[in-house]
Symmetry: none
Subunit: 244 residues, 2 copies
């Protein structure tokens, strides 16, 4: 799938162009266009912030006008915080990302336009675009750094690509203990707690045992961790006898 093209209109700071490239690469985007960058192009200040994404800077395309930068695209989105007077569809970044996919799949080439750092896009810029992305943010402070705005759009795009919606609550490598291993530890622990009198109040014993087991069941333990716990318990109950 051909990812959306990112278009920065009259960006001021090279640093922001670099950080934008990095954020794009983080999310699998690679095509960056600049319209009339304030400090010209190439800009040495972009290089360090781009970190591992300098390839994107090498491939940047520069245009004099937004109109030229959009010429070969089919559907163009723009981010703006000023949505009040829009006579265009306004949507969240998440919703837009879903639409990119559908539109790209039906053969369209998509662009997302971001305005200059201080001022954002002006009305003439906005008159050229199809749809508006309004990122839901703290209404007391919606002013996003340029690269941060790009990141959020790119991030939502990337999330739609994979099946990350299913909240993969995987626990990475490392072999979990079998229940048998865990139960043997419970047996050992409870036997020792019976011996030492911790569980001596008979009618409270069942709930105390349940509570203890829950502590060790809350997060899955590895086999090694269970072995460690067994060692802890057996050492705790064996008074240290220095060898003679």
């Amino acid at each position: 799938m051909q990812p959306p093209v990112i278009i920065l209109v009259r960006p001021q700071l090279g640093e922001n162009i670099g950080t934008t490239a990095r954020a794009m690469h983080n999310c699998g985007l690679s095509k960056l266009r600049l319209v009339a960058p304030k400090m010209g192009w190439p800009n040495p200040h972009a290089i360090n912030p781009a970190a591992g994404a300098v390839k994107i800077l090498d491939d940047v395309e520069v245009f004099e006008t937004l109109q030229e930068a959009l010429a070969d695209l089919n559907i163009v989105y723009a981010t703006t915080a000023r949505t009040r007077d829009m006579t265009k569809p306004v949507m969240t970044a998440k919703h837009a990302a879903g639409q990119f996919c559908e539109e790209i799949q039906s053969g369209s080439k998509i662009g997302v336009v971001f305005g200059p750092e201080r001022t954002g896009l002006n009305n003439d810029d906005l008159s050229l675009i199809d749809r508006v992305i309004s990122i839901p943010l703290n209404p007391e402070y919606t002013s996003l750094n340029l690269a941060q705005a790009v990141l959020l759009v790119a991030y939502e795009w990337y999330q739609v690509q994979g099946d990350f919606t299913s909240d993969y609550l995987h626990v990475a490598k490392g072999t979990y203990a079998t229940k048998q291993e865990l139960f043997e530890f419970f047996e050992q622990l409870e036997a020792e707690l019976d011996k030492c009198g911790f569980l001596r109040v008979k009618h409270k014993r069942p709930i105390m045992v349940r509570n203890l087991r829950n502590i060790f069941l809350r997060a899955p333990l590895t086999s090694q961790e269970v072995r460690t716990l067994r060692g802890v318990v057996s050492d705790l109950v064996s008074p240290y006898t220095p060898r003679s």
Copy 2:
């Protein structure tokens, strides 16, 4: 609802601390803790990048160790790209954000820990945390800028707070016109409207042009539709001459 506390461990650059504060404010977070910041604190380089979020910098709490920084919290998450050896639950930022809410609602105080720029969190740091956030990113380049990582977690947190489901439904199908096709139509139309006097009031021309363009941008047009419109305009301005 008491939002999560953000904890930066041994951050190197003041700029990143400032940008972090800004991203936090964008997403309604306000409590920032620093553990052993490399350049000390306060750091003048943080101020400009914080933009409208300097209040967060004023309220920063500084700790010597991560352990001290976590002392009053109940559940602690950390972001790391190295999830391979984790024996902790690993989840997406989106999933984590949902969990924050539930946990906060049941009275827990939540923290999210971010490691130093170059190295990330070390194993001793990770041994203190409960859960791991792994943000789904381009596997070829998962190295996020520090403030960008904070932004994504804060953004997902903010999205869970409100119901931002978009109500916009998209209609058209088929091959959309390229912008070049559309712009050529705009040129033709506006030239004809200049000629015929429709756009004669000079100070109103820019807004009239924008409004016109918006009409044809509201819903994406197919190439065929643009050709039709061009025919409409050229026919409208060519007086009909019946063939003899």
